[in-house]
Amino acid sequence: MSLPVIKGTLDVLALRALRMSPMHGFEIVEWLERAAGGSLQIEDSAVYQALYRLEERGYLKASWGVTENNRRARYYEITTQGKTHLKAETANWLQYAQVVTAILSGGAVAPAVR
C-alpha cells in the first residue's frame, strides 16, 4: 500500500536525494522511487515543482549537461546553503516524527531538556 506524500516533505526528500552527487530530473525521481521502495505515491510533476522551488530558494543550483546517452539534461546540485537546510530539516523532521509516534502509540512525551 503506497502512501501519499505529506505536504512539504518532498522538498527535503529531494535534497536528500542530491546529497551525494548531482543528478538530473529523471534520475532524482528514480532515486526517490527506489528509496521509498514503492511505498510512496511520488508524482513526477510534484518532484519537478519541488526542484524548481528549491532552486529558486538557492538550495540547489542547476546547469545543463550531457547524460551518458549523449542527451541534454538539466543537472541539479545541492549548494552549501542546501546542505545546511537539509541537516536542519532532517533533524526537525525526525524529532517531530518521534513525538507524533510517541503520542499516537499512547504515551506522553518526556519534556524536552533545554
Binding site: Y52, R71, R72, R74
Partner: protein, 877 residues
C-alpha cells in the same frame, strides 16, 4: 540509446523566453525517458506516451509553476549581476579618481562650492519666502491688511489696523475664509522693582493656538471667559525656561505685566510662532476679547481651499461697506491680502541672490564639464586599448558615467556640508533689520532640487564628453596619430564652455558693481539733516498718570529743560518727528483752490509736530518762509520741499492752505508758512514728493526729545540720568541717531557683500576654467611652439599669441556677458538706488575686470609656452 521518433510523439510548443523553452525541454526529456523505459518493458509507443503523461501528473499546472519559479530565479540573478557590475564600476571609478587626485580634487571642490552656495541661498529663499510660518495648511495662510486707497508708498511697513467691529463682521460673514485671527504685538515691561525686563507680548484669541496647530506644554490655553475677564496670560517656552527655570508649578502664578497683575494659565511651546515674521520672539501670550471695542488689530487668516485671494479681498471690502462702519460710501481703506512671504522686506534682494547663485552653479557645472572633457581626451589611449581588447562601448560609457556619478556624489555631499555652514554663517552675520532671516534653515526640497539639477548637468556633460570624443579608429589612436584631430573638435567645445563661464561671470560682475554703486549712493545720500551726535530720548508715559496731552507735553518739556542744562548738550528740541520714527495721518490731502477729486483716495500722510528749535537742532534747512507760530490764530505748518515743488511748480507754496480730509471729519485748514529741505529720517525710502506736514507741538500726544551733544560719551549717560531724575518711575527709550541711520544701510551692504562674494567665487571658477584650458592647449601645442621657435619666432611673439588667445576668449565672454546683463539687470532694478540698471560705467568696469581676469589666468600658461625648449619639444612625441 536514443530511440528515434520518440520525441515526435510529444509536441514541442513554441515559447518565447529562454527559460520557458528550457522548462519545456526538461519536461520533454523526462517524458521521453519514461516512455523509453516503458517501451523497453514492452509497451507500445502510444501506450507508453499516455502512461508517461499520466504518471507525470497535472502537466499544465506544473508547467506554469515551474515557469514562474524560473522567471523569478532569472530576475534575481539578473539583478545580482547588475549590482555586481555596478559595484565593480564604482570601485573602478574610485580607483581612477584616486589615481588622478589633483584633477578629481579640483572637480569635487568646484562642484561642492557651487552646490554649497546654491543650497544655502535657495534654502534661505525657500524657508523665508515660501513657507515661513509652520501653521497647518500654511499655503492657505494669508495676512489681511487695510491699506489706504493709494496703497503704501511710504517705503516702510505701515498698515492701518482693523477696527474690532470690522473684524467681527468679517469673522461672521466671510465665506472665503475658513478662519480669521486678529492679533496685536506690543512691548511691555515684565516684573517689578529692579527686575524689570522688556518683553514682547502678542495678544491672540483662544482659537489661535488651534489655528497655528500648537498645544500648550503645560496648563491650558485661556478660555473665552478668561479672555473676556482679562488678567490672564500664557508664557512662551523660552521665557518659562529662562526666567522660571522650567518650573512645572508656574501655572496659577501671578506676574506683573505693564504694572498690572496677570495669572499664568499655561505654557506654549517655542514652535508657536506669531504671524508677524521677524523681530524678537514673543515671550507672553495675552488673551484678546473681541467683544470689547478697543484699538485695532492686525489680521491673519486661512482661506478656504480653492478660495481666490483677490476675490476674498473684494468680499472683505463688501462686508465692510455693508457693515456701515465707515460712513463714506467709498471705502477709505481697502483690504489687501498677502502671503507671509510677500511681506518680507528683502524679498526682492533674496530672489536676486537666488538668481545670482544659480549663475555661480552654472559656472561650476561648466567647469566640471570642462574637466571631464579634458579627461576624456587624455584617456583616449586607454579607451582604444580596452576597445581593441573587447570591451563593449556600452560598458565603457557606463563606466565613465559611473565615474561622473561618484565624482558628483562626493561633490554633492561636500556641497551639502558647505551649504549648511554657509547658511549658518549668513544667518548669524545678518544685520538686525533683516530679522526674518532668522527663519532660514536648510530646506530639504531646495537641497534636493539643487543636487538633482547638478547631477543632471554633470551627467549630460559626461555623456556629451564621452560621445564627443568617441574613438572611431582605435588603431590610429594607438599609434598616436589622430589625437590632435580628435582633440581639435574637443577644443571648440571647451572654448565655448570657457566663454560661457566668462559670460556668466561678467553678468555677475555687472550686478555686483551696480550694487556697490547703490550702497555708495545710499551712503552719500543727502539726508536733509545732520545725524552726527544726535540722540533721542522717549519717555513711556503711562495713561494712568498722564491723562491729557497737555500733561504729557509738559512732562517732556521738563525733561528737555533738564537735558538742555547739561554742559555737553548743544541743543535740544521737543517733537514727535523723531529720527527713525514716523507718524502718519490717514486721509486725503485737500488743497484749497483745487477741487476735491470725486474719487476720494486715502493715503498715508506724514505728520510731525515740532517746536521752533526743531529744524535748528536737526541741522535741517528752511528754504522758504518761517517756522510755525503757535500763538497765531491760524494753524500754521511747514511742508517739505519735494511736495512743494511737485504741487506748486512755480514755487508759490507759501500762503496756500491744505487740510487732511478723512471720511466726514473736516479738519481745519492749515496755512503753509514755510518750506524745508526734505528730511529723510529713515533713509532713502518712500516717495520724496509725498507731503510731510510739520505742525506745532500742541497736537502731539506722545512727544520725545531730540538733542545734539558735543561728542563726549559721558553726555549721553548724563542726559539719561537727568531724565530719569526729572520723571522718577518712568521708563525711557533712547537711541543714537547715527547708529540707527547706519542700520538702515546695513541690509543693502549685507546683500552687496553676499553678491560680491558669489561674484568672486564665479570669477575664481571661471579663471580656473580658463587657466585649465590654456594650460592644456599649450601642453598640446608644445611641439608646434618648438617648431615655430626653431623657425625663428621670438619668445615675445609666442607670449603675445598666448595672451592674445586669452584676451580674445575674454572679449568674447565679456561681450556675451554684457549683452546678457543688459537683459538680466531688469531683475535687480528694484534693489538699485542712484544708479540706472544700464549704467555704462558699471558695465565697463565689469567687462574690464573680466578681461583682466582672463589675462591673469593665462599668465602661467604663457610663461610655460615661452619656456619651451625647441630642441626637446621637436624631438618629443
Amino acid at each position: 540509446m536514443k530511440r528515434p521518433g520518440v520525441r515526435r510523439l510529444f509536441s514541442l510548443s513554441l515559447r518565447r523566453n529562454r527559460w520557458e523553452s528550457e522548462v519545456e525541454e526538461e519536461i520533454l526529456n523526462h517524458l521521453t525517458i519514461r516512455a523509453e523505459r516503458l517501451m523497453a518493458l514492452g509497451m507500445s509507443p502510444q501506450a507508453a506516451r499516455d502512461e508517461a503523461i499520466r504518471r507525470f501528473g497535472p502537466l499544465d499546472e506544473s508547467r506554469r509553476q515551474m515557469v514562474a519559479a524560473a522567471a523569478h530565479r532569472e530576475e534575481y540573478m539578473r539583478r545580482r549581476e547588475a549590482f555586481t557590475e555596478f559595484r565593480q564600476d564604482v570601485s573602478f571609478a574610485a580607483r581612477t579618481l584616486v589615481r588622478n587626485k589633483g584633477w578629481a580634487a579640483i572637480a569635487v571642490i568646484t562642484l561642492a562650492l557651487g552646490i554649497g552656495a546654491t543650497t544655502a541661498v535657495w534654502s534661505a529663499a525657500s524657508s523665508v519666502l515660501l513657507h515661513p510660518l509652520s501653521y497647518p495648511n500654511a499655503n492657505r495662510v494669508v495676512n489681511v491688511n487695510l491699506l489706504p486707497g493709494t496703497g503704501n508708498s511710504t517705503g516702510v511697513d505701515v498698515v492701518v489696523s482693523a477696527d474690532v467691529r470690522l473684524i467681527r463682521a468679517w469673522r461672521t460673514e466671510s465665506r472665503s475664509f475658513e478662519a480669521i485671527e486678529p492679533y496685536s504685538v506690543a512691548g511691555m515691561p515684565l516684573g517689578t522693582g529692579g527686575e524689570i525686563e522688556d518683553v514682547v507680548t502678542t495678544t491672540i484669541l483662544p482659537s489661535f493656538a488651534t489655528f497655528a496647530g500648537q498645544r500648550p506644554i503645560i496648563g491650558r490655553v485661556f478660555t473665552a471667559a478668561q479672555a473676556r475677564a482679562g488678567g490672564f496670560a500664557m508664557l512662551s517656552e523660552d521665557l518659562w525656561r529662562t526666567r522660571f527655570g522650567s518650573d512645572p508649578t508656574v501655572v496659577g502664578r501671578a506676574l506683573t505685566l505693564d504694572g498690572r497683575s496677570v495669572t499664568v494659565v499655561g505654557v506654549m511651546p517655542a514652535a508657536l510662532m506669531p504671524p508677524r515674521l521677524g523681530g524678537r520672539p514673543t515671550a507672553i501670550w495675552l488673551p484678546l476679547d473681541l467683544a470689547r471695542d478697543s484699538v485695532g488689530y492686525r489680521v491673519v487668516g486661512r482661506l478656504r481651499p480653492g478660495a481666490d485671494p483677490v476675490f476674498a479681498a473684494r468680499e472683505l471690502d463688501s462686508i465692510a461697506v455693508r457693515s456701515k462702519i465707515f460712513e463714506a460710501s467709498t471705502l477709505p481703506f481697502r483690504a489687501a491680502i498677502t502671503t507671509p512671504g510677500e511681506t518680507v522686506g528683502f524679498r526682492d534682494s533674496l530672489l536676486m541672490l537666488a538668481g545670482a547663485v544659480l549663475l555661480v552653479l552654472l559656472v561650476a557645472a561648466a567647469n566640471v564639464a570642462h574637466l571631464l572633457l579634458a579627461r576624456a581626451i587624455t584617456r583616449q589611449r586607454e579607451v582604444a586599448i580596452r576597445t581593441s581588447l573587447g570591451a563593449s562601448r556600452g560598458r565603457l560609457m557606463r563606466q565613465m558615467a559611473t565615474e561622473t556619478l561618484v565624482l558628483t556624489a562626493i561633490g554633492c555631499a561636500l556641497g551639502a556640508v558647505l551649504g549648511y555652514f554657509a547658511l549658518d554663517a549668513i544667518v548669524k552675520l545678518r544685520p538686525p533689520s533683516l530679522s526674518e532671516l532668522q527663519l532660514a534653515h536648510i530646506d530639504l526640497t531646495a537641497m534636493g532640487l539643487v543636487i538633482a539639477a547638478s547631477m543632471l548637468c554633470a551627467l549630460v556633460f559626461a555623456v556629451v564628453a564621452s560621445a564627443g570624443t568617441a574613438v572611431r579608429q582605435s588603431s590610429l589612436v594607438l599609434r598616436g596619430a589622430a589625437v590632435s584631430a580628435i582633440s581639435r573638435a574637443g577644443e571648440r567645445l571647451r572654448s565655448s564652455l570657457v566663454i560661457t563661464e566668462m559670460a556668466l561671470s561678467a553678468m555677475l560682475l555687472v550686478g555686483a558693481v551696480l550694487l556697490m554703486r547703490t550702497v555708495i549712493a545710499l551712503q552719500q545720500m543727502d539726508l536733509g539733516f545732520d545725524p552726527k551726535n544726535l540722540h533721542v530720548i522717549i519717555p513711556s508715559l503711562p495713561e494712568a498718570r498722564y491723562t491729557t496731552g497737555e500733561a504729557r507735553r509738559d512732562a517732556v518739556r521738563q525733561v528737555a529743560t533738564a537735558v538742555a542744562a547739561i554742559p555737553g548738550v548743544v541743543d535740544v528740541a521737543v517733537t514727535d518727528a523723531l529720527p527713525s520714527y514716523r507718524n502718519f495721518s490717514v486721509g486725503t490731502l485737500e488743497i484749497e483752490g483745487i477741487p476735491r477729486p470725486a474719487e476720494r483716495t486715502t493715503s498715508f500722510i506724514d505728520v510731525g509736530r515740532i517746536t521752533p528749535a526743531y529744524f535748528r537742532v536737526l541741522g535741517a534747512q528752511l528754504i522758504a518762509g518761517r517756522m510755525p507760530d503757535s500763538t497765531s490764530s491760524a494753524r500754521e505748518i511747514v511742508i517739505n520741499e519735494g511736495f512743494a515743488r511737485k504741487q506748486w511748480r512755480d514755487g508759490s507754496a507759501l500762503g496756500k492752505r491744505v487740510r487732511v480730509f478723512y471720511e466726514s471729519e473736516e479738519n481745519p485748514w492749515m496755512t503753509i508758512v514755510g518750506v524745508v529741505r526734505d528730511i529723510s529720517t529713515m533713509g532713502p525710502v518712500g516717495d520724496r514728493a509725498a507731503p510731510f506736514l510739520y505742525t506745532s507741538l500742541s497736537d502731539s500726544d506722545s512727544p520725545g526729545i531730540v538733542y545734539r551733544t558735543d561728542g563726549r560719551e559721558a553726555t549721553v549717560a548724563q542726559a539719561l540720568a537727568i531724565s530719569k531724575a526729572t520723571l522718577p518711575g518712568i521708563r525711557f527709550r533712547q537711541h543714537v541717531t547715527e547708529k540707527v541711520i547706519g542700520d538702515t544701510l546695513a541690509p543693502s551692504r549685507f546683500i552687496m557683500l553676499l553678491m560680491t562674494g558669489f561674484t568672486t567665487l564665479a570669477m575664481i571658477l571661471a579663471a580656473i576654467g580658463l587657466y585649465g584650458m590654456m594650460a592644456y592647449a599649450v601642453a598640446q601645442r608644445t611641439r608646434e611652439i618648438g617648431i615655430r621657435m626653431a623657425l625663428g619666432a621670438s619668445r615675445r611673439r609666442i607670449a603675445r599669441a598666448v595672451l592674445g588667445r586669452a584676451a580674445v576668449l575674454g572679449l568674447g565672454g565679456a561681450a556675451l556677458g554684457l549683452l546678457l546683463a543688459m537683459w538680466g539687470t531688469r531683475a535687480i532694478e528694484g534693489t538699485l538706488y542712484g544708479v540706472s540698471r544700464l549704467d555704462a560705467t558699471s558695465f565697463a568696469i565689469g567687462g574690464a575686470a573680466l578681461i583682466a581676469m582672463a589675462v591673469v589666468a593665462s599668465l602661467i600658461p604663457m610663461r610655460r609656452a615661452v619656456a619651451v625648449d625647441p630642441m626637446t619639444a621637436i624631438r618629443a612625441e
